[in-house]
Amino acid sequence: MNLKNLYVKELFLGFGLVIIETLIAVFLGPEISRLEHLFQIVIIFNAYTVLKIWRKKELKLDERENILFLQSGFVSVFIFIVIVVSVFLIQKELSSEFDFSIKYIWGRFLLPCFLLIHAITGYIQLKRDEFFG
């Protein structure tokens, strides 16, 4: 099942980006410089390119799988927006709790967060299809 493989790869890519972004945040500090902004854009662009290559060349999703992939994308966008708004609303409470300013770092984890949400949502959708047909 190619779609399942894609979601697994997406999950690993998401976790990989979380690690990379955490390392950048730890070693370069919470403030983002212009150079770091450039690195961020390069990382995001590469992640999308990798996903596109996996989807089109390596895994060759068929028409039904492509539709399922897009459907899980719509659900993920909704969940993603809810999470982003929630984090934005409670950032003051989170900052005082963990002793860091969330406004400097939360932008770093947007892409990995979306990839993880998409992979998990897609996997749940696949399993739901298997059980309820």
Partner: protein
């Protein structure tokens, strides 16, 4: 939309896996079409019709056409 894919496949003694390979789609897609959970696109429908050497309307039809 209804279809006779399962019957045609059984007549020719082809497995879902084999048919999926012939049509260049996944086995799950063939299964979904047979269970009428997914309506194939026109190109895939035409491919199926060509493979079984039958007109498309003989394989795929609506409920009221039965």
């Amino acid at each position: 939309m209804k279809n006779k894919l399962r019957v045609l496949r059984a007549e020719r003694n082809i497995s879902q896996e084999e048919l999926a390979k012939m049509l260049n789609v996944s086995r799950q897609t063939i299964n979904a079409i047979e269970r009428e959970k997914y309506d194939p696109s026109l190109p895939l429908g035409l491919k199926i019709a060509k493979l079984f050497n039958k007109p498309v309307e003989e394989i795929f039809f609506t409920e009221d056409e039965r």
